[in-house]
């Protein structure tokens, strides 16, 4: 199989999810040639796209673990990065709600655990305070723990910002390449992908749900991943006034349980389920999953169920038999694994990249010389509901009428925003990719009104944007319709 890239990279990062993109971005800041590979057609199309999109403080991590440290550090790093790049974040805070005596009795332990994790701002609150903060919560809450810094964030923009900056720093993004086998010759690892051969001196495994498979190609047998399906129901924006904080269950032996949370796009989310599967591609939703979620929702916030469901999602996260993040350097094979990174990877991704950098530096096996003249971080288009969007931005519409032409009515996505994605460093190539960049067709009508128009824009790669030639034609004339 040919080496179509015809070169040997210093580093190949496998997986363009949040962790892989963060690592590529970090390493591309050195005088290194970096390739970022992904099996799919787009960045962030695996576990990174379908999580609960919460920026975690790490209050409930297992103290002393690498995960605890990474999430704690990642919270601050990502918060800072979000400010620089315009990733939307809302500091809503969270409340863990105890519905029975056992859960109530667990709250002091959770508070203590939060303190061991370096987070001191949790507070135990009584039922009256809970209902003051969450007036639409279902009956029967006994007590709660407030976590004021838990936040909601746009996971799609986070992934895209990191990958975009990696590319702007010179990383070559190589999509549609599933690594099937490897060999290592004279200090160079050849990755045989579904379409070509990629050669690199160092390989970083950030393959998410495929991390164990890649690890085995390097001769290891230390981690086994199970796809854990999480189904989510996303409720109509009209439900948003019901809840402005993340409502968390008290974690039990069975996992973190079902939460109700506002989303950064102005909806309300109910989920996820947790179901271990065998098929690593089964992102279908299920009857039992919907029934389970509706049952939970009935108790947590019955009024939520009176609203329409705008979207249903199923995401796969990597459940691992390894008790912590597994981040290690193998200097002999020039191979690094960043594996076992569960749904907390959204928060921790940048910290994981910093940690990989530290390990590499400590190994002394690779020269890390900072590049001069790094480009500024990208400024990402805002798709967060709480911040100014192009359709609301009078000055921007005045400059370019395409930002005043709303194509997706439900999500108020303009022709200008859709057009812009196609000239961005990482343009979308599928409808889902366009949805993650703009929110187009993610709304309540799911394409009833705009589906055909959005598809035409996708197929013409934004060139079918059609706004009236004379921007004042509409207001000035009496009749503009044909």
């Amino acid at each position: 199989m040919s080496n179509t890239q015809n070169k040997t990279y210093d580093v190949a990062v496998i997986g363009a999810g949040i962790v892989g993109s963060a690592i590529a971005r970090k390493l591309a800041g050195y005088r290194l040639s970096v390739a970022l590979l992904d099996a799919r057609e787009d960045v962030g199309d695996g576990t990174s796209k379908a999580n609960t999109a919460i920026l975690h403080t790490g209050f409930d991590a297992k103290p002393g673990t690498l995960e605890s440290k990474m999430v704690r550090e990642g919270y601050h790093l990502l918060s800072e990065y979000a400010k620089q790049t315009g990733i939307p974040v809302e500091h809503t805070g969270a409340i863990l709600v105890a519905w029975d005596d056992e859960q109530r009795d667990a709250l002091p332990g959770l508070k203590e655990k939060a303190e061991q994790n370096g987070y001191a701002k949790t507070e135990i609150i009584d039922a009256a305070e809970i209902y003051r903060l969450l007036p639409h919560l279902g009956e029967g809450a006994l007590a709660g723990l407030s976590v004021p810094d838990e936040s909601i964030i746009c996971t799609w923009t986070t992934n895209l910002a990191l990958a975009t900056e990696a590319v702007q720093r010179g990383t070559e993004l190589l999509l549609r390449r599933r690594v099937a086998s490897i060999d290592r010759v004279d200090g160079v690892t050849n990755l045989y992908t579904s379409i070509d051969r990629i050669s690199a001196r160092w390989v970083i495994n950030a393959a998410g749900l495929g991390g164990d498979t890649i690890d085995q190609l390097f001769g290891y047998d230390r981690i086994h991943l199970t796809p854990r399906r999480g189904e989510l129901l996303v409720y109509d924006k009209q439900a948003r006034p019901l809840v402005d904080k993340i409502v968390l269950p008290v974690p039990t032996a069975l996992g973190k349980g079902v939460l109700v949370s506002p989303t950064i796009y102005g909806n309300v989310m109910l989920g996820p389920t947790a179901e271990d599967l065998k098929d690593r591609t089964d992102t279908g939703t299920s009857e039992s999953g919907f029934a389970f979620l509706r049952g939970k929702g009935e108790k947590i916030m019955p009024k939520l169920l009176e609203e329409e469901v705008t979207a249903t999602y199923a995401g796969l996260r990597a459940a691992s038999d390894y008790p912590d993040y597994l981040i290690e350097v193998d200097t002999e094979q020039q191979y690094v694994i960043a594996g076992g990174i569960r749904s907390t990877g959204l928060t921790s991704g940048i910290a994981v990249a910093e940690y990989v950098d530290e390990l590499l530096r400590a190994s002394g096996a690779i020269q890390l010389v900072e590049r001069d003249n790094l480009p500024e971080p990208p400024h990402m288009p805002n798709i967060g509901e709480a911040f100014l969007r192009p359709y609301q931005d009078a000055a921007r519409i005045a400059e370019d009428p395409a930002y005043g032409k709303i194509v997706c009515f439900c999500e108020r996505v303009t022709a200008g925003e859709i057009r812009d994605t196609f000239s961005s460093p990482i343009p979308p190539c599928t409808l889902d990719g366009l949805r993650r960049r703009t929110r187009a067709q993610n709304g309540r009508c799911q394409g009833f009104f705009c589906g055909a128009e959005v598809n035409e824009l996708l197929e013409s790669r934004g060139k079918s944007v059609n706004v009236p030639a004379d921007p004042n034609a509409n207001v000035a004339s009496v009749e503009v319709t044909k």
Partner: protein, 418 residues
């Protein structure tokens, strides 16, 4: 020059240029001083008939039998000829005051302050997530609106074998569109025991389209990705499930009003239909805000929606003269098998509702129904109708029943004789 910061001040603002909004504009423009402005978020006014490329439009309001695009064109021309101003590509995004809205259009972000606002935003079909149909997220799943946009406005294609979910009027409209692009409808499913569309379709229609209708059937799963490969259907009575091969799924009917602006204005909403609650004069509970069309009765035919627009004109003129409704209204609610009724607010001195009809939605098929009004549990009026109450289409009842209401008594319900 930009229009940013511009404030438009029409006398009447109509939001939505579908049949009801355009007809209201045509009626009002000659009758009010000042401007009648219609805002339409689509690039062409006319609403859903624009992409319903088959005959059957204009029967009750125009005395014609024409296709949807032509019907839409006539409505546009009539509104314009009457002097109404129509702005397209203009989306009302939020309220700026009691009768004031913010609008985004390519010309800029403008505010519109009006003396009267008429909401005519219509309805849409529930898409797959709102129906909670599980399974894969393959390509090839559409609502009728989406399908007809693809076929009739963008001249695009869909697959070759379709399953249509629903067997009501709009479902046959979808079947016609599919036939137009040579996509075979292999099955229509309905949860009801009968296919619900008009007689025209139930016999000859089936022959014409060669389509089977599976009654008492629901879709339990959509299978296949990246493209749809089939649906799993269940017989509701036996629980038996089987898989039907198809590459296209059309989700029809199951209408939900586009009520976002109404709710954002705190207009009272019917808990079942989710429509704004209006009285016979099509007033909402917010002074100077009216609602018309299929947002109120999701959904009746386009001509009936347009006739709401005709009816609202005199009520708007009366409002502009300073007339206000007198007295507290009585509520009218629907008893099973009816799901909702519109209008749902009654006043002694209100005029008759549009077309002198109460509009209802029935969950079961009832031939020759005897409709009764009850007040305090006592039957106060009854009427046997020679047309059936059928699920999947609006059931129309003469409003003359209302003449028996005792205005000093309590709430009124409408149902069937026991």
């Amino acid at each position: 020059m930009s229009t940013n910061g511009t404030v438009l001040t029409p006398t009447v603002l109509i939001i939505g240029a579908g049949p009801s909004g355009l007809r209201a504009a045509a009626e009002l423009a000659p009758r009010v001083s000042g401007e009648v402005l219609v805002l339409e978020r689509e690039s062409v006014a006319g609403g859903i008939p624009r992409h319903s490329d088959h005959p059957g439009y204009g029967i009750r309001d125009m005395g014609k039998f024409i296709d949807g695009p032509r019907y839409a064109r006539i409505l546009r021309e009539q509104a314009t000829a009457a002097g109404a101003k129509i702005l397209t590509n203009a989306t009302v995004t939020d309220w700026a005051g009691e009768r004031s809205v913010n609008v985004t259009m390519p010309d800029g972000r403008v505010r519109v302050d009006a003396r009267v606002i008429i909401l005519a935003t219509g309805a849409r079909e529930r898409p797959r997530p709102a129906r909670l149909i599980p399974g894969d997220r393959g390509k090839g799943i559409y609502t009728t609106g989406h399908l007809q946009n693809i076929i009739h406005l963008k001249h695009g294609k869909v697959g070759k074998r379709a399953v249509i979910v629903g067997a009501e009027l709009v479902s046959w409209s979808a079947a016609m569109s599919l036939k137009h692009v040579k996509c075979k409808t292999v099955l229509m499913t309905t949860e009801y025991p009968k296919a619900d569309a008009y007689r025209l379709f139930s016999g000859p229609g089936k022959l014409f389209f060669g389509t089977k209708v599976a009654t008492r059937t629901r879709v339990t799963r959509i299978i296949g990705k990246p493209n749809v490969q089939g649906v799993e259907i269940e017989n509701i009575d036996t629980g038996e499930r089987r898989i039907v091969d198809c590459d296209t799924v059309i989700l029809t009917g199951d209408w939900i009003p586009d009520n976002e602006l109404a709710r954002a204005a705190d207009v009272d909403i019917d808990p079942v239909s989710k429509s704004p609650i209006v009285d016979a004069a099509l007033r909402t509970n917010k002074s100077g805000i009216f609602a018309i069309g299929n947002m109120l009765h999701p959904v009746d035919t386009a001509d009936v929606a347009a006739l709401d627009g005709a009816a609202v004109a005199e009520h708007v003129v009366s409002y502009l003269r300073g007339d206000r409704p007198a007295g507290a209204p009585l509520s009218l609610t629907a008893d099973a098998p009816f799901r909702w009724v519109a209008p749902a607010l009654l006043r002694q001195h209100d005029p008759a509702p549009p077309r002198r009809r109460l509009l209802l939605w029935s969950d079961t098929y009832v031939p020759f129904p005897e409709v009764v009004l009850r007040q305090n549990g006592t039957v106060i009026a009854r009427k046997r109708l020679w047309w059936p109450a059928a699920p999947g289409r609006v059931f129309r009842v003469p409003s003359s029943l209302l003449s028996q209401i005792n205005w000093n008594d309590g709430a009124v319900t409408i149902g069937l004789a026991k």
